[in-house]
Point group: C2
Amino acid sequence: MILKSQVEWALHCCAILAGLPEGRYLSTKALAELHGLPKEYLSKALQSLSQASLVNTTLGPSGGYRLARASSEINFLDIVEAVEGSARSFTCTNIRENNPCRAEGYCDSKPCAVARIMWEADEAWRNTLRRVRLSDLVSILSEEVPAELWQSTFAWVLKRAG
Amino acid sequence: MILKSQVEWALHCCAILAGLPEGRYLSTKALAELHGLPKEYLSKALQSLSQASLVNTTLGPSGGYRLARASSEINFLDIVEAVEGSARSFTCTNIRENNPCRAEGYCDSKPCAVARIMWEADEAWRNTLRRVRLSDLVSILSEEVPAELWQSTFAWVLKRAG
DNA sequence: GGTTTTCGGATATGATATATCCTTAATTCC
DNA sequence: GGAATTAAGGATATATCATATCCGAAAACC
Ligand code: FES
Ligand code: FES
């Protein structure tokens, strides 16, 4: 059970977009360069964010991506589910139905106990991600990343933001 | 991020083994038949349980599997990790290192904030699974499964247990 | 009109999950 | 001792999914 690397990419990109001044856009090219990622493939992750309405896009030479709402209104789960999908990690294939002792036509009323427990764990994972806002990540980063690097990075970004 | 179906299989098999009388073994063949699963492939899941020391095995005509310890001493995480592995679902590929603004040779002191948050969610998932014992599942099942089916199933199992 | 950009579709490649087969060694039963 | 049964593990095949690249269309900017 491994999340795709697109999840990491999307999170880092959102953190950068969160620092963008109102109304400016940042292109896939800039985001790919900044993170050392394949531009074409990163583009797919950004498209997922766009389809989930987490970011707005515009075309043309000064186009690119920006957050669709305030970074305090976007949480980690929004981003993770945008690229990873919202399907549960555990799927019940109902093998209990194959029990040869079961009466013909017998139908279970509830989802089975095994699945319910696994789904509970899934919910705990989701709840943790739901509680962390993108703005929280930005706060942490702005404290942890050396001030010099933090500033030069946003200077670099602003030079490329349309 | 999808768990393999072996996880479901292992959980159901453990629930059955938990109902086995002291010292008896149940073969892969019986477990596969009971759940309608490919015997050879289910065998791989059971081997994983064996390598994790969750079950004991014995060879020969009356051989098979039994729990290595009491069902109250085995939790869901034990079983899930036995077949799924214990690697974290999120891996930090350190793309922050690719930032062109970083000074040469600069080395980060801690794991990055993104990874720490994702790992926290992972821990929440694991903790939930850790809190549920195999004996808890058996209790739930014994209440939920119709008494008739529950009894006939264990009669079926006992007839095949060596 | 030419350039730059997002978007979607097509396609290729690699890794992993799923599944089967076969050999070996241990155990039971006769 | 010999035959039958079983788990363990290696080899292999197939399907699905993650990763990655490429291209054409449409939109925006100059
Ligand atoms: S029948 Fe297996 S998890 Fe529901
Ligand atoms: S650098 Fe991306 S998660 Fe650590």
